[in-house]
Symmetry: C2
Subunit: 391 residues, 2 copies
């Protein structure tokens, strides 16, 4: 059996990784707006990107590189380098050509859409990088946009044979939302000795159950990116342990993003079971987490189970009122046609909804498909942030 | 050529139709909550219902009747008779069995989900109906829930041969939203001499371009219903004239619902052209009208064209930044990779967005598919209405 030990760290937890954030003058008032991740040996890379067809220049640039090893990632906030056409890609090549002593550098951006990168500022910023720095929190702060707190996590994974590896990460995102200051980004570093192909397949699978299960407003930005760099320095690896650690890291960061969702006050888990298959369970869980009516009911702390039933029915998944069961935490309000929603039950459910975190259980009673999605409420603050953003 | 003459009327415009609204004590304070439509000869019926799998008892009851002619529709507000199982259907049969001198009566409901109908109140209400009344506005008011105004329209259609028919309608709905007080309902009456099958096929097609193109929050309720009753009393009919009149009526009522969308201050048309096909154009137009980020940008009167590009890209339809063109009314901000969004253009677009009604044009530059969808903004009032509804 393996053992996961939580570390108070981020992208520098693993042996051989360095990171820092600096101010290049992209954000006002000297706030940090550029970060790097550097490894003293070359790394395998696994990646997942947005499915948005207007994907940003950094993603197109990455894809044009084919398969490769790298030891350097450059990240800027405040400008997404999206909707900038071929010039946006050329800008990246020019910027990265000024980076010294690095192999196949990668660039990642987040911020405003449709504005060319301020090349000179970024090139000057690169000159401030110090590859001996291990300042993960400084890096995590530099990549923030509308985030209200930085997001980091790391584990040491101890294997049965006495060997161990480390894995750490940072992420930004206040909900895959707000394309004017867009994007979720997540960077994971590890010294595990894992092959690229295995790392990629584990990342693909884990993304579905974590970042792709979390929603603030159902939007998919032009820049969404998850990168894992593995430098193999620990010499240690075990597949199930790696999978578990990666899931814990990505699950934690996904929920941190929802918790930091613009204006969100509650983190709600939608646990859907009994669907025809897993895909239909996913459709239902995401319909619930994306529903405006659910989100406003959550904000109002109103145990409006009719909205749940209606959203399930509207989702397109196979369902019917005779086999549906709905619970707020342990309190079942509707079970296969029988309604338990009297005044006393309404009070109990209203108490559940006052919590910061709770679960809505929805059993469709048809098959064995299941999925868990994560959402938040939508209140006045969301409207304020998104309506007034540019003023 | 035919000629459409606007009439200041609703469901009683056509020869032989009667309607009224009464108070049966379902709503508080003696507000009207039950309405009828009666025809002095039997009518052909065409219908469109919600695709929600939790569809309400009245819809199941209607479907169980097979094909039939009718002369009577009973409508109640305040209670949706949804999620009420087989008892909900039995309740309808019992209620309708008390209606005298009518053929194959139909019932339609809107309101709270998951509560049995107050049968006695409704049966007593039926006794108050007077089939000689032509009070279309009273009927239109009685079917309202969160609507802030009643919705009616009627035309006289003059055909080239000197004959004419009439068509009138009423609708309720403040946005296909709020499943606690759910539903859009629309009732159309005509004395045109149209066959059931032709009327049904014209209704199906027209629904796609009108009610199904209008969105307040993208939700589909348990009770959505459109019914047309035709009694043929005019003896007149011409297909193209009927189609045009029906489109104008349903288009007007759909936009009235969006305009009355909970908390909405703007009515926005999303005109999508150049898509691979019409279906993809529809996907893009609806993605735009449903997007929370678009809705909050509208509320903030922020010409945030990046949100439009990102939403198009995320919609799943074929698109790319080199062929995309975006305009706010006549002002083009982005054309096939070239950005015209300088300060002066931003001011012009911001002025457009201050209007009550405007159009966002989005040409994908790929094929000939097109679709027009209708949406509104989302502001603090929406959150307030939906979060605080039950308190």
């Amino acid at each position: 059996m393996h053992n996961l030990v939580s570390l108070n760290s981020g992208v520098c937890a693993s042996d051989g990784f360095y990171a820092d954030g600096i101010s290049a003058g992209l954000k006002p008032n000297g706030a940090k707006d550029m970060a790097f991740i550097y490894s003293d040996v070359e790394c395998e890379v696994a990646s997942v990107f947005t499915t948005n067809k207007m994907c940003a220049a950094p993603i197109k640039h990455f894809r044009s590189m084919g398969s490769f090893k790298t030891n350097f990632v450059l990240i800027n906030s405040k400008n997404a380098n999206a909707m900038t056409g071929k010039k946006g890609i050329t800008d990246i090549s020019e910027i990265l050509s000024t980076c010294k002593n690095v192999t196949n550098p990668i660039m990642s951006s987040t911020g405003v859409i449709g504005v060319r990168l301020p090349k000179e500022k970024i090139i000057n910023g690169i000159k401030l990088f110090d590859f001996t720095k291990k300042e993960p929190n400084s890096a995590a702060s530099a990549i923030m946009t509308t985030d209200t707190f930085s997001k980091e996590i790391a584990y040491k994974v101890e294997l049965e044979d006495g060997s161990s590896f480390k894995i750490g990460a940072m992420a930004k995102g206040a909900g895959m939302i707000n394309p004017a200051m867009a994007t979720m980004l997540c960077f994971i570093t590890t010294d595990a000795k894992v092959s690229q192909s295995e790392m990629q397949s584990i990342l693909d699978e884990t993304t579905k159950k974590t970042f792709n299960a979390a929603s603030v407003d159902g939007d998919t930005s032009t820049n969404d990116t998850v990168l894992i760099l593995s430098n193999g320095k620990s010499g240690a690896y075990e597949k199930e342990a790696f999978k578990e650690a990666l899931f814990k890291i990505m699950h934690f960061l996904a929920l941190e993003m929802v918790r930091d969702g613009e204006g969100a006050t509650k983190l709600v888990t939608y646990n859907v079971t009994g669907a025809k298959d897993d895909r239909e369970a996913e459709v239902v869980a995401k319909a619930l987490s994306d529903s405006l009516l659910m989100k406003t009911a959550l904000f109002g702390e109103d145990p409006n189970w009719g909205r749940i039933a209606s959203t399930v029915g509207a989702s397109g998944a196979e369902s019917n009122e005779e086999s549906l069961t709905i619970s707020f935490n342990e309190h079942c309000v509707y079970e296969k046609g029988t309604l338990y929603f009297d005044e006393s039950m309404e009070e109990k459910c209203a108490l559940v909804m006052k919590k910061d975190r709770f679960t809505i259980f929805c059993d469709l009673g048809i098959g064995t498909g299941n999925f868990e999605a994560y959402g938040c409420d939508l209140g006045h603050e969301y409207v304020k942030i998104n309506a007034d953003y540019r003023t």
